[in-house]
């Protein structure tokens, strides 16, 4: 376009010189563009590196601190690598409370919740996805309300309720309120809905009983979503601090996150080396699992967001 405008304005036929000029300008512009792209590339990678640092440095700092002596933590500007690795910090952290019991409680509660959620969510999700029944709208409304209203909101009445049931400070008391998950039902319902009706019809023509259709065909088909949900649920409850804090008054049913948070009370506010050692005990397993199966875990969590 531009070329033709130039030509008509100048009114001169395109000469060889003009052509060369244009070629020259173009190649110069190309060179400029190439350098610009190279610079951008460098900026891009530098930026990415900075980004990684923002997220990785705190963890590195945690590791570094956990191996320091107390005086070493108080050096400013800080030193990254301690002179001697003080492994004793981990033992000290572990001995601030009944950590074995914390650990067992964490496992029992997270696994218990997971198992119960599977048992309650799968059938409910299936019924909501596949059956028409009177009142299903109302009942699903209950699920949606539960999904949208945060649990932190109603801990007080639940506390009183559990206290009336004599379930405070028990595993059961920490498991039962989470025996089903609105989120799980929501996810699984979507998954069940996506399965084509043809498949069910084929199974019916194959004379399969309803329970058999559900267990042998439908549930295996939503396995990826089940794995997703299981990962999600386990990590959420393994990490949970709020409910065990609110629903326990003594050590019998307390979990790891509570134990870690309590180190500060036992050791004093500024013993960062021991605190970070304890923190590492809590974080390391999850981070290790994350880096081993990063892809699945990310998929699990992000998938929830997209569906």
């Amino acid at each position: 376009m531009l070329k033709s405008v130039n030509d008509t304005i100048s009114g001169v036929p395109i000469g060889a010189a003009a052509k060369n000029d244009r070629v020259f300008v173009r190649s110069k512009r190309q060179a400029l563009r190439r350098t610009l792209r190279a610079i951008l590339q460098v900026v891009n990678y530098a930026g990415l590196l900075g980004l990684v640092l923002v997220f990785a440095m705190p963890f590195g700092w945690m590791l570094s601190t956990s191996l320091k002596t107390l005086p070493e933590t108080m050096i400013f500007p800080p030193e990254w690598i301690p002179h001697n690795f003080v492994w004793q910090n981990f033992a000290d952290a572990w001995n601030t409370g009944p950590f074995l019991s914390y650990f067992v409680n964490s496992v029992v509660i997270a696994v218990g919740i997971l198992v119960l959620q599977m048992l309650t969510c799968i059938p409910a999700a299936y019924a909501f996805a596949r059956y028409k029944f009177k009142g299903s709208g109302f009942l699903f409304g209950i699920v949606m309300v539960t999904l949208m209203i945060p649990g932190q909101l109603i801990f007080l009445p639940v506390y009183l309720e559990l206290s009336a049931f004599k379930l405070l400070n028990t595993h059961l008391g920490l498991i039962l309120p989470f025996a089903s998950s609105a989120f799980g039902i929501f996810l699984l319902r979507q998954a069940f809905k996506q399965i084509s009706e043809e498949l069910l019809e084929a199974a019916r023509l194959d004379q399969a009983a309803e329970w058999k259709i559900i267990l042998q065909i439908m549930v295996p088909m939503v396995k990826p979503v089940l794995v997703t949900f299981a990962l999600f649920s386990f990590i959420a409850h393994w990490n949970d601090y709020f409910w065990p804090l609110v629903m326990t008054t003594n050590e019998t049913a307390r979990t790891l996150p509570l134990g870690i948070a309590k180190i500060r009370e036992v050791e004093g506010v500024a013993t960062w080396n021991i605190l970070m050692a304890g923190n590492l005990i809590l974080v390391a397993p999850i981070l290790a699992v994350f880096f081993l199966s990063q892809r699945q875990i990310i998929k699990a969590f992000v998938y929830n967001g997209v569906k």
Binding site: S196, E198, L199, E201, A202, A203, R204, L205, D206, Q207, A208, A209, K212, Q216, I217, P220, M221, K223
Partner: protein, 357 residues
């Protein structure tokens, strides 16, 4: 093997009447094809036979048993679905024997049956694969095997070839015809493709808007359509029709009122000599499709645009042509689209005797 009877069947979805009143007998051992445009109720009819859909009214009989209240699994029908509906979590073997397991067939018997069937459909090497690892044609075979292994009285196929590419579709068509011959079981087949219907069925049921237009053999349908709908639905290209108002130079006497006139593209002659006695239309060739053995011309005339098909004839190059349709190949339809037969032929003959135009 079984005869299927649909008596006074109607189907409503909420307030929508999909099928008003349908009566149909599907002969024992026949290959019956239900064909019609989408939404004509053919699939619904099929699904009612299978028991996947409950009719709003009327009875369905398979052999001498009324199956209105029989659940699909106990009707002794097997179905091949449009998207195959293979169980993705099971192997090919698992898919084929799932129905047998549910019937409580013993393991040794199951194995023999699965082996036999997989030999027949050529799946033996793939028995331990998952359906996702198979090609479209192979999945189709698994779906067939899964239906066959149950040795049903009735085979129901719902547009089973629509997901295959053209070449494979042709191949599977032949295989299905052979399979039907070999098994001798009643096949009920649904398609929207009239070519598929004509090439496979021995009885074809043409449906439109929930009403059966005609149920006949392919040849009868082609040569002797009951009404305008069937005439325009069957054939490639379909029958040419024009309103009687636009017809010039044809003097027809009939008992009834003739609303439209039709002829098949392959029965019209281009630039025929005066010895052919027929109705003559002049027109202009708009397009020429040459398929080698046959040519299809689109011709514009005063009465509209027509197709004419010729075989093994040199390509007509002229722009303007004379199209002659022998009188005996003209079809007449009444105002409601019904075919008019009686009394008209005589009228046409008289015209010829009178010396024509």
């Amino acid at each position: 093997m079984a005869k299927i009877e649909l008596r006074n069947i109607s189907k409503k979805f909420k307030d929508d009447t999909v099928i008003p009143n349908l009566n149909l007998t599907i002969k024992d051992g026949s290959f019956t094809v239900l064909v019609g445009p989408s939404g004509c109720g053919k699939s619904t009819t099929l699904r009612m036979v299978a028991g996947l859909e409950q009719q709003s009214d009327g009875d369905i009989w398979i052999d001498d048993k009324c199956v209105n209240d029989t659940p699909p699994g106990l009707r002794d029908v097997a179905m091949v679905f449009q998207n195959y509906a293979l169980y993705p979590t099971m192997t090919v073997r698992g898919n084929i024997e799932f129905g047998l397991k549910n019937r409580g067939v013993a393991k040794t018997d199951r194995n023999t049956l699965v082996t036999d069937i997989s030999e027949i459909v050529g799946l033996a090497p793939y028995l331990d694969k998952k359906p996702q690892q198979l090609s479209g044609g192979q999945r189709q075979r698994v779906a067939l095997a899964r239906a066959m292994v149950k040795q049903p009285k009735v085979f129901i196929l719902d547009e089973p070839l629509s997901n295959l590419d053209a070449k494979l579709r042709g191949q599977m068509r032949t295989e299905l015809i052979q399979l039907h011959k070999r098994l001798g079981t009643t096949f009920v087949y649904v398609t929207h493709d009239q070519v598929e219907a004509m090439s496979m069925g021995d009885q074809i049921v043409v449906m439109n808007k929930g009403v059966i237009q005609q149920a006949d053999s392919p040849m009868k349908l082609y040569h002797d359509p009951e009404n305008l709908f069937t005439a325009e639905f069957i054939g490639t290209p379909a029958m040419n029709t024009m309103s009687m108002k636009d017809v010039r130079g044809l003097d027809v006497q009939a008992n009834g009122y003739i609303a439209s006139l039709g002829f098949r593209p392959e029965q019209a002659l281009l630039n025929a000599g005066p010895e052919v006695r027929g109705h003559v239309i002049e027109g202009e060739i708009v397009t020429r499709e040459s398929l080698g053995a046959e040519q299809i011309y689109q011709i514009r005339t005063g009465g509209g645009v027509f197709f004419v098909k010729t075989f093994l004839a040199p390509l007509a190059t002229a722009d303007r042509v004379k199209v002659t349709i022998p009188y005996e190949h003209l079809y007449y339809f009444g105002p409601g689209g019904e075919r008019l037969r009686a009394g008209i032929e005589a009228g046409a003959k008289q015209l010829v005797q009178a010396g024509g135009i």
